[in-house]
């Protein structure tokens, strides 16, 4: 799956299937601080993500 982490402006690829929560755990990202978007649709972290998912991890934290 393709992953874009907004806060770090970082792109990466993972060859696996997992839930959003498992992905965030692997990336050491607190799920309360982000929203997940899969193929331009908001998804809950509990949902399964397939190998061909295009994931955006959007930060919810205030600017200042």
């Amino acid at each position: 799956m393709n992953i874009y982490i907004e806060k770090e402006n970082k792109q990466l690829e993972l060859d696996k299937e997992c839930t959003g929560l498992e992905l965030l755990k692997e990336l050491k990202i607190n799920p309360t601080t982000v929203l997940l978007v899969n193929n331009n649709e908001v998804v809950l972290p509990e949902e399964k993500l397939s190998k061909d998912s295009n994931i955006k991890i959007l930060s919810v934290v205030s600017g200042g």
């Binding site: 929203l35 649709e41 908001v42 934290v61």
Partner: protein, 309 residues
Amino acid sequence: MKCHKCDQKAVYKNQGLLLCKNHFLDYFEAKVFKTIKKYKMFSNEDTVCIAASGGKDSLAVLYMTSQYCKKYNINHFALAIDEGIAGYRDHTIEDLKEFCERYDIRLEIISFKEKFGSTLDQVREKALKEYNKKPCTVCGILRRTYLNRYALKLNATKLVTGHNLDDESQSFLMNTLLGNMRHNASLGPITGLTTNDKFVPRVKPLYFISEQETRLFCLLKEFKVDFTECPNIGLSFRANVRDQLNEIENKFPGAKNGMVNAFLEILPTLKEKYKETKPFSYCEKCGEPCTGKVCNACLLEEQLVVRKI
């Protein structure tokens, strides 16, 4: 996972509640309107000034307050403070201008450069090196002062801010860690300990809304928001407390909400204990209410501005 109210796919989950896009937007509006009504934040006798920065909280509160004011025929306008933080505020101000045009909201912009004589970027180093003042301290004092000063000049009777559940739980914890219960007494959905003709009362319609809910709302409404972090945030005590609280929220979902509701139970006692009984003193320079001879904003001007325009 399906929405609890219809067959659509859920985009929001909060302690067992699952909502689709449309039901989440309804829930968000109902929650904000309920807060405005419960705390009698403003009525059609008010002129409401909405503090706006162009960030997600400010756009959400601006949109919701404007919707509420249009529904109940209440005078309102947006007021933005441009601190002069390159690569950050210049972007958000542009987004804000577009937004206000799109939703037909009157917008007033006040800049540090014009009113204070320097941008925040220009005084940042001097404040830190010579006066040990972090940029967030300088920015906070000046923003608070200018919002009040220009809201008053523009005849506002209420000042709406985008403070949310995260901000409030952070402020409560920061004040508590510092042992400063007087500052906690000034928090709450309607801020301040006393009334004065020179203070515009501040109200927080997003008081029970989390940052995650606000970002989801902005995303689903397709608001154009710049999500760049302020470059100065890394230096602040608040950023540290924010990260710790987010860790707690992850381990104990609902913790921030619980903390703010617990705080609201003790708030009347705090307000009573710390209510101002002494007559106000006024700043020798600008004439606004303050605790010393000169207010913090005028003091900063004296210390930091090389050439006042």
